[in-house]
Every structure is written in C-alpha cells, then in structure tokens.
Symmetry: C2
Subunit: 195 residues, 2 copies
C-alpha cells in the first residue's frame, strides 16, 4: 500500500483504532480486516505490531482496568468516611467511563469467551467487590441504608454508570460533567426532592 | 431427523429458544444453525415456521416492547401524582426485565443494524420519551429535583434497570423482588440514609 509509509503506527495508536472498531461492531463481529481498513494499513502491517485481535482487546481491557484500579489509590478513595470515599469512587468511575469510552465500552460488553476476557472479568469482579465491601462498611457506620444488599447496590450503581457507554457520544448536548454529577446524585441521593 | 416428529414446535416456542440463543451468543454471533441445534430440529423445519433470523428477532423485540407499553396503560401509570406514576412505571419496567429476561436482553443490546432493530429502537425511544416527559411533569410539580435534566434521569434510571440483563440469572441468591425494590429505591430515594 503506497500510503503506508506516511502512517507510522505504533501499538498504542493501533489499539485506539481497534477499540473504536470493537466498540462500534462488537468484538466478536469485528475482524482484523475491519481494523486494518479503519487504520488505513494492511493486515500484514498490523501483525507486525501485534499478534492478533485478542492481543488488541487485551490491551484495551488492561487500559480500562488499570484506570479503574488507579482510582482506588487516590487520596479521596482512601481517606475520609466510607460514604465520602464511595461518592468519590462512583464519580471517578463515571468520569473514566466517559474519558475512556471505547475502552470501557469493550470492558462493559466483555462476554468471557476468551482467556483475556475471563481475566478481565475477574479483575472487574475484584474491583466491584472492593466497592461493595466499602458499601457494607458505610452501612455498618449508619451512613447508607441497610434494607438493600451491598452487592446489589454495587451492581446497580455500576450498572447505571456503565449504561452511559450505550448512549453517550462526545459532543452531545449533555455535558460530561452533568452525566458524572447525575450518576452520583441519583445513586446516593435519589431524584425525589426532600420536602 | 428421526426424533423430529416428537417435537411439534410452534412459532412461539421457537421464538423462546431463539431468544435464549441470541441472549447467550449475541444476535450477530448466533446463526440459524445454533437455533436449530438448540431446538433439536433441522434448519429446514425452522424455515417452515419463520422466514429467518431477523423474523425471530423481530418477534422477540415486539414481545418486549408490547410488554413495556402495556405498563403505560395500567391504572397506576395513569392515576395519581406524577411521582407515584413514575415509581410504578420504574418498578414494573424492572419486573418485566426480570420476567422476560431473554426478550429484554435482546432489546437492550439492539444495535440498529437491521430494519427490525431500527423500528424497535424507535419504539423504545418513544417509551423513554413518555417517561422523561413524566419526570419533567414531576419536576414542575416540585416532587422531583430540578438540578438534573429529565432526559438524563430517564436514561440513567433505565440504564440501571437494563443493567440487570447483564448479571441477573434466575435462581440466583438475590430474589427478583429485591432487585425490583432496589432499582426503585436507589433511583428515587438514593442509598444515603436520611439523618
């Protein structure tokens, strides 16, 4: 391909492109031909950088999970009341979801049909477990209602946050900050106006 | 196939089987061979009942959307305050999601790549619009907080409810009623315990 010399792709740029293709067509539905077409290079050139489709997925999932786990090391995730730590983590998860939309789209839709996907699901479950343990701590401290199961709360709040990958598009009329604020506001305070 | 005479499938049973296959493998990833295998009959026998894969999907999407729209005609969706109608509709949407898990799974994941899918997306959008108009009404009446956009609230509450298709399995340790209660409780009242 004559134009190829003008496009010196590195593995990170190729991963960016592959993730957009996976997010659009679904990982199972996307082929390396699709990725090559989106990158404007030959399939052979891609295989020069990466062993295959699963390796590209694996890089995307690792990016997403590394970003999520990094949240847990932030000072506001470690200091303060369980409730304020929960609010911080929830807001940051929503932020990361919007900031890394292709990565998180692929993570949210992971089916577990390959080794990379199963490993990602395991890491994701461990993240969710940390979050639901913090909810349980906040329940014991009296800050969070105790009539709902902590794991169920974790699933539904992350379910709400994950759902933005299905409809949020950059440049939409709803600002990213408004989405993040709404996820935290609904999850923690609900929509009913206090009387 | 010798056993076929013992399995007199009708179109509704075939739709049930196809929806389970679509929910497991994804609609795009599932073939009519997969459906035939799951049904234990030949592909030719399926084509005796139905024109193809899209017709099966279309029947499933129609089931899901008919069930959702039927909620809007229930007395508790039509009478009472906007807030109580919203609570009722939200709880019933969650109930229908659990009751018709394969149908709703397929609806939630619809990509819009076929005519049936685009028609389903249009009906779903119309349902969401009705819900967000009711949220706006509840905001005007002072019952729902006005610092969040009504459409954004609708998307996030339904996003939370839709997310159950990704993790809920019948026979799980969490009862269906608890999930429905939690969706309504979190969406409307939040998880923070009133002081």
């Amino acid at each position: 391909m004559s134009g190829e010399a003008r496009k010196p792709y590195d593995i990170d740029t190729l991963t960016d492109i592959a993730l957009r293709v996976f997010a659009e067509r679904g990982y199972d539905g996307a082929s390396m031909d699709d990725v090559a077409r989106a990158a404007g290079i030959t399939k052979a050139s891609i295989y020069h950088h990466v062993s295959g489709k699963e390796a590209l997925l694996d890089r995307g999932l690792t990016r997403a999970l590394d970003a999520l786990f990094a949240i847990l090391d932030e000072p506001q995730s470690l200091e303060g009341s369980a409730l304020s730590r929960l609010r911080h983590i929830t807001g940051r998860v929503a932020e990361i979801t919007l900031l890394m939309l292709p990565e998180l789209t692929v993570l949210v839709r992971v089916s577990g049909s390959s080794k990379s996907e199963r490993a990602a699901l395991e890491r994701r479950r461990s993240f969710d477990r940390t979050f639901s343990e913090l909810i349980a701590e906040a329940q014991r401290s009296g800050a969070v209602r105790t009539d709902l199961d902590a794991r169920l709360i974790a699933r539904l709040i992350f379910g709400m946050s994950n759902s933005v990958v299905e409809w949020y598009r950059h440049g939409s009329s709803i600002a990213e900050g408004a989405v993040v604020r709404a996820v935290v506001a609904i999850g923690f305070d609900g929509i009913v106006r206090p009387q």
